[in-house]
Symmetry: C2
Subunit: 345 residues, 2 copies
């Protein structure tokens, strides 16, 4: 890649073929989010990217969780949300067993020979990783602890996405309560544990941030929040407005039953303490609430995913942003190396 | 400074004149912790450093908290700890108003014309900062959020220590519940908010980590945990052993009533959920417990402060460590800049 920038998949709305294509065409690595999409939609998205650019790109898949949520906890949370549903004039969603069409999407990325495939929320089996590689994919696994990194290495991953606690959106580790490492410490610990290339993710929104993780030994920076306000992203209007106005961020299970970082709003403040670890059940429960709130422009009731460095994001077009991040990172590294060598004894 | 390495103050045992002098003599900036020490002991420590090296060094002071703890919460926690005291054969300490001899220590560092003074746990008044500067000190204020950084700038600080959530020991912000930013995001956000030089602290234990924060724009890295196992540090034996064996770290108020990161042990697991925000009252309550447990070599009952990157720490002598961190940081920056410039279009 001409620029060491990987676009975070940004499932749940912001991911678009236009965004992935713009990033890849500019010399970064664009990504499509397969999560929450049907296999047919994923196939159509892949075709749409290919219609826009011949550059390589990636597709991210959610690994189904083997953990079983406590049905009583889900019921109790549903009771708590009844008032929210009434106010918004919708019914809560119905929790159901759902593996997000895991096998069908694996088949799609293999059939389409997608150049890069990344996995989030779990470690696929060694056989699954081997099949993806046999279909021509370079395979990335998202990790949040050194132990997860070792396991991904043993399972045959080509490289790792090391996600720090700064990151916006869902924690991507193998379990809901996995690591809370700051990115820099995580990158150093992971590089000590495995020989795999590491893509660093979490709170990186400008060129100096990219430079920092490269100096720490990462091969690239995964950037998410910085793309949310680009014109190519599918980010909804209240989310865009909230990113521009800004408040602090926090980690919550309130929207989906799995820990994720977003801007603090009314829903997050009212429900975080009571929200159970139950994904995708809570995601399913709240989906109609969030859809209705988006339609109503009600930013207090939707998930406003954002990383800790979100104030650095702006509305620059995605391709320009990739070029700027790359150029600024190069400049920061060159200047810092020069400054330090002046101090050499 | 020949090496962009600031030694974290390491109050509560690890701080020694030998450690500060070794770091400063090697070309870093050594620090003495004034916290928990008497003014006379601080004065003696300063003289001891000066007897060992003519190089500049710093002294760190705890700023007294204006917040009042809830006496009922302190009493309830004391009741909870009664069994711990009985088991260890000591009485709990008595919570008392205590400003850690704030004014007397300010007078000591001014009279001794200490070259660098850093503040933790709060923002001194503009007048206090001005007096320290008038006595020849370069003044650093520890911050954990961009807002604290702006306030420190307005109060007249010369520079900031930006402490990320990765850091071992106490959170150094102005209030107990201040920021939980990852270091890299914090450094970028702080540099956008103020023109002050930033020393980056938290989870930095090797040269590539130092290189990363320099590339992010910091003028130096503050390194703490990496010095805990050096022969010059006053770290107690069970703490040293725990750092070598290792478990995960967590943030807790269990030992002192103020959030701090340490290795997870029995005491932390049993009491974190119930420990109130009440510093220094909880520190005073538990002091006899911790002293007895240290004497007994009972690592399950003492505060094992450690940053998230503690597995990277080893027993290298402090001066050697400073030189290694500096050399490795230079090498990492030079190699990364070279690698990136090769990719330039």
């Amino acid at each position: 890649m001409p620029h060491p920038i990987v676009q975070a998949p940004l499932a749940g709305g912001p991911s678009t073929p236009a965004l992935a294509a713009a990033v890849s065409a500019a010399g970064g690595l664009g990504f499509l989010a397969a999560g929450y999409r049907s296999p047919d939609d994923v196939r159509a998205d892949i075709a749409a990217v290919r219609a826009l650019t011949a550059a390589p790109f990636g597709v991210n898949l959610f690994v189904p969780s083997p953990e079983q949520a406590d049905p009583a906890a889900v019921d109790a949370y549903a009771a708590r949300l009844a008032g929210e549903a009434e106010r918004l004039g919708v019914r809560l969603g119905v929790p159901a067993d759902d593996d997000d069409a895991w096998r069908a999407k694996l088949a799609v990325v293999a059939e389409e020979r997608v150049p890069v495939v990344s996995f989030t929320f779990g470690l696929p089996s060694a056989a699954t990783i081997a099949r993806a590689r046999a279909a021509g994919a370079y395979v990335l696994v998202t990790v949040t602890t050194p132990e997860e990194a070792s396991a991904a290495h043993e399972a045959g991953a080509d490289a790792l996405v090391a996600q720090g606690i700064e990151a916006g959106g869902h924690r991507g580790g193998f379990t809901d309560d996995a690591g809370d490492f700051g990115l820099l410490a995580l990158v150093r610990l992971v590089l000590r544990r495995t020989p795999l290339p590491v893509v660093a993710a979490g709170g990186i929104s400008d060129g100096a941030g990219v430079a920092a993780v490269l100096a720490a030994g990462a091969v690239a920076a995964q950037v998410g929040t910085a793309f949310l306000r680009t014109p190519e992203a599918g980010t909804n209007a209240p989310h865009r407005a909230a990113l521009a106005a800004g408040d602090r961020t926090a980690v919550t299970r309130a929207f989906t039953g799995r820990r994720a970082r977003g801007l603090v709003n009314r829903f997050l403040e009212e429900h975080t303490a009571e929200a159970p670890a139950a994904y995708p059940q809570v995601h399913q429960l709240t989906a109609p609430l969030r859809a209705a709130a988006r339609r109503a422009g009600d930013a207090g009731s939707i998930n406003l995913w954002a990383g800790q460095a979100y104030p650095l994001a702006d509305e620059t077009p995605a391709g320009e942003l990739v070029a700027r991040l790359g150029a600024d990172a190069r400049q920061a590294l060159a200047e810092t190396a020069r400054r330090l060598s002046g101090g050499h004894r």
